[in-house]
């Protein structure tokens, strides 16, 4: 065996091709998202990227993304959770009953709901982790049970409306902390009606942070001689990501500013990305999904970890249920129906593997957005729900086929 010299001596274009081939999955997803956005931007004659629609898009997909974070961990650990849609609906119903009918203070109700979500996750995780009952079956049962429970709880009726403070969970916006004068100056500069300086500022800070951490990782890789991303790619990728973030945040800032859920989503995404990539706990989940026996023989408490993955999923499903109820301003018995499929699809589109051990938070979030843009774009175009379903199904299939093909290619 000799190390091929190709990596150091051959011409740059060759390297880029080789690199792209090796990382087709990561870029493929990003390119697909961009391509789909451009397509809808054109075919909806600009409606897709209107500030109001971007805001809508974020609000509409927030609960999917929140659940995708938990689902990614469940799937990476080698399991699946089919009950999240029902649990989400059930928790929304619970919140409605408590707040609207029983006059429980909304903050207390939120806490109770999150705890209940955790308990539901624990109840399901217990059977999966300690009794080794396949998660597919346990959560299939859970799906039916909680769907029934929501019906029971709401007595088949819709319950609402919620107090304003609770609604703000989903529909509120963060007030601009900067003096109005600055915003007006910017607005004049960009020819917009108004500019929310906070939103724009957060966008710029996020962009800078992404570039900075990217540069740091790159420097580190270089120091360890890792075959890393060609410079052209690094720059192109960062320009696209930064451009997209600043663009979207600018658009938001010309509308009503930062939606509360965007903050929730952003913070949760960062927390979970950190948890999965940078902590011992996260590493152990990947090991568990990669080879349960080897993980166990390495001293990892595989049962407890599986259990915790489900508890976490339960809490996030509850959080999503609260956001969903707040957004619709009412809890309906049908809430969350079949939503688990969108969540699971998002995670697989994001590159997770059915057999566990593979997948990223960022991938899952991008996957969720991809589904979201598809939904949103097709709705604006007036495509019927029948075709929408078919198209989404085909996209999921294509993404997974692409994965498998890619893997066989790398050998």
């Amino acid at each position: 065996m000799t190390l091929a010299q190709a990596t150091t001596t051959e011409a740059e274009p060759m390297r880029i091709g080789e690199y792209l081939l090796g990382h087709l999955r990561t870029y493929g997803l990003l390119f697909a998202l961009i391509a789909i956005m451009i397509f809808f931007q054109i075919s909806t004659s600009g409606t897709l990227l209107r500030p109001v629609n971007i805001t809508n898009l974020l609000l509409q997909n927030s609960y999917i993304i929140i659940m995708a974070l938990g689902m990614l961990i469940v799937i990476v650990s080698g399991n699946i959770d089919l009950s999240v849609g029902s649990v989400m609906g059930f928790v929304g119903a619970l919140a409605a009953v408590m707040i609207v009918q029983l006059d429980v203070p909304y903050l207390l109700a939120i806490v109770i709901c999150l705890v209940v979500g955790g308990l539901i996750g624990a109840a399901q995780g217990y059977w999966v982790a300690y009794w080794k009952i396949p998660s597919f079956i346990v959560t299939l049962a859970g799906m039916l049970v909680f769907r029934g429970l929501s019906l029971l709880l709401l007595e088949g009726q819709s319950v609402g409306p919620f107090p304003r403070e609770f609604q703000a969970l989903a529909n509120g916006f963060v007030a601009d902390v900067f003096p109005a004068g600055i915003g007006q100056t910017f607005a004049a500069m960009f020819g917009a009606r108004q500019v929310n300086v906070l939103a724009l500022g957060v966008g710029i800070i996020a962009a800078v942070a992404i570039v900075w951490s990217g540069l740091r990782a790159r420097a580190r890789n270089r120091a360890y001689g890792v075959v890393d991303e060609p410079r052209a790619f690094f720059i192109a990728r960062n320009v696209i990501v930064v451009g997209a973030i600043v663009f979207i945040m600018f658009k938001l800032s010309t509308f009503r500013g930062l939606p509360n859920v965007l903050i929730t989503m952003g913070v949760l995404t960062m927390i979970y990305a950190f948890l999965t990539e940078r902590t011992v706990l996260g590493r152990r989940v990947y090991a568990l999904g990669g080879n349960q026996k080897a993980a166990k023989l390495s001293g990892i408490k595989t049962e407890r970890l599986t259990f915790l993955a489900f508890v976490n999923m339960g809490v996030l499903a509850a959080a999503a249920g609260l956001v969903f109820a707040a957004r619709l301003n009412t809890a309906t018995p049908k809430a969350g129906f079949a939503l688990e499929l969108d969540v699971i699809a998002a995670v697989f589109i994001g590159g997770a593997s059915m057999s566990g051990g593979v997948g990223t938070i960022v991938g899952a979030v991008v996957g969720a957005f991809l589904m979201g843009v598809l939904n949103n774009g097709m709705s604006i175009m007036g495509i019927g729900i029948d075709y929408q379903q078919m198209i989404k199904g085909l996209v999921l299939l294509a993404a997974v086929i692409f994965d498998v093909y890619n893997k066989s290619k790398q050998g």
Partner: protein, 506 residues
């Protein structure tokens, strides 16, 4: 006799790795040809090229087979021409019977309906041929590795084999099973079957091979022909590692100290059959700085003993006490056993030792993540450094520590498992077949590491089916038979004969 197979200037590259660099191999009709070389030299890769696992076009060079240029697009192609490969990792379905496995993908059927009568009759014939006395309906999972290997060969024979390729067939076999297998190869040769055998056990190579090809770093170093010259192990070793090796075992300085690790009255019952006792009141001790061996036949309960001690990873109703430095320790869970200072290097690296989809670095740190993190937050730089350190110390052949373990050669995977447990800094290491599938040079390195560990005052408990290895390395050897430790020999007393007689007399 003419050449049946000629592989000319075969070059095969993987991303970042040139696994084969203009390798040539000539195999004569009707001979047993041994292919030897260090871990990662490219032996398995060469055979995968030959058998169509890597299809024509994915490598450079030419294969001439049976008088014509051969371009196999897949395994089915090469099988049609009588080339059958038995891979380093067995590919049988444990939940199917022997008969079903033998004819998997080649079912004896008419119009889609399986002819069971014919299947069983053919199976019996084939089993008779390979000398395996088992019913065709026996589930493969119930057989030991040795017998599974024979099933693989029977499967090959069911397919009109002309050229049989065996990739390390005896690595997981006991001495007697290996002998039986080699005898079978000689018998097949008498019937006109040509074979290529890859092995790290050079005494076997010398015994059966008519010619030997040595490859090193992806290139052919030498070819020896038993008809024209005498093939000696020393000559093979020299070509393999590129230098003379005077000794197979590094010198050991014996330092007997206080008792470090002690297991008393250890009883274990079978995990499924609760009335079957697998380990019967075993007592053993390991002193600081001591290397203690456990000898025994396959299935004598050595692995079961080790795994039951290591966090009750095997069996049920386990009773007995474990002490470290005289203090009773809790080894009832793997993490507790690790905390107590134990490490267990499994014999089954693929399914119990490694996460194949993950890179070397993450495998090395897995059993000791505290060592690469602060407050639960991983330090990637440190992790990479650690992996680099072990890559150098253990001489793991790989372009980088970010390579997926899946892409390493078998021997290098073994080194990764060892690295993982060395990094956990245990006081007592239980090594289960630590040199399985490892080349002579690397074995010497691993023995050196074992000696270093013992010089540091650690205790080493070594399970091995290679008796010379136990005799060469251990200060004391326990002999195990049918779940009981039936004897104990010091290095001076021990010999192959005495160990065997202890096993037999019980």
């Amino acid at each position: 006799m003419s050449a049946l197979l000629e592989m000319r200037s075969i070059t095969k590259t993987f991303p970042g790795v040139k696994a084969l660099d203009e390798v040539s191999l000539t195999v004569r009709e009707g001979e047993i040809h041994a292919l030897v070389g260090e871990n990662g030299a490219g032996k398995s890769t060469l055979m995968k090229v030959l058998s169509g696992v890597y299809p024509a076009g994915s490598y450079e060079g030419e294969i001439h087979y049976s008088g014509g240029l051969a371009e196999f697009r897949n395994i089915a192609d090469s099988e049609k021409r009588g080339i059958i490969i038995i891979h380093q990792e067995l590919a049988l379905v444990p939940l199917l019977s022997i008969a079903e496995n033998l004819f998997l993908g080649n079912e004896q059927a008419s119009r889609g309906v399986i002819n069971w009568h014919g299947t069983f009759r053919r199976t019996e014939e084939l089993l008779h041929k390979v000398g395996l006395r088992e019913a065709p309906t026996t589930l493969v999972g119930k057989l030991g590795v040795g017998k599974q290997q024979l099933v693989e060969i029977a499967k090959a024979l069911s397919k009109e084999v002309r050229l049989l390729i065996l990739d390390e067939p005896t690595a997981a076999l006991s001495e007697s099973d290996s002998q039986a297998l080699l005898d079978l190869l000689l018998e097949l040769k008498a019937q006109g079957v040509t074979s290529i055998i890859i092995s790290h056990k050079l005494n076997e190579v010398r015994r059966v091979a008519d010619s030997v090809t040595v490859i090193r770093d992806g290139a052919t170093v030498s070819s020896m022909d038993a008809r024209t010259q005498e093939i000696t192990e020393d000559a093979i070793v020299r070509d393999m590692v590129g230098r003379d090796m005077a000794h197979r075992y590094p010198a050991r300085r014996r330092v007997a100290k206080d008792v470090l690790f002690e297991v008393q009255n250890w009883n274990v019952w079978h995990p499924e059959q609760s009335d079957r006792q697998v380990i019967k009141s075993a007592n053993l001790k390991v002193c600081a700085g001591e290397v203690v061996g456990i000898a025994g036949l396959m299935g004598s309960g050595r692995t079961e003993l080790a795994m039951s001690i290591f966090g009750r990873s095997y069996g049920q109703n386990i009773s007995g006490s474990a002490r470290i430095k005289g203090q009773e320790v809790d080894v009832s869970r793997v993490d507790r056993a690790i905390d107590a200072g134990l490490a267990y290097v499994t014999e089954d690296r693929k399914s119990l030792g490694l996460i194949l989809e993950e890179p070397i670095s993450r495998n090395v740190s897995l059993a000791h993540l505290q060592g690469v993190s602060q407050n639960g937050i991983l330090n990637d730089n440190l992790e990479t450094e650690v992996a680099e350190r072990y890559r150098k110390a253990m001489n793991i052949r790989t372009p980088s520590v970010f390579q997926k373990v899946m892409n390493l050669s078998g021997g290098n995977q073994q080194k990764v498992v060892l690295s993982k447990w060395l990094f956990a800094e245990p006081g007592v290491l239980i090594l289960d077949e630590p040199t399985r599938g490892i080349d002579v040079g690397a074995k010497f390195e691993i023995y050196g590491i074992i000696n270093e560990l013992s010089a540091m005052g650690k205790g080493v408990l070594m399970i091995s089916s290679e008796m010379p290895e136990l005799l060469g390395m251990c200060d004391r050897i326990y002999v195990m038979n049918e779940g009981a430790l039936v004897g104990e020999l010091t290095a001076e007393e021990a010999s192959q004969e005495r160990i065997m007689s202890l096993i037999v007399t019980e």
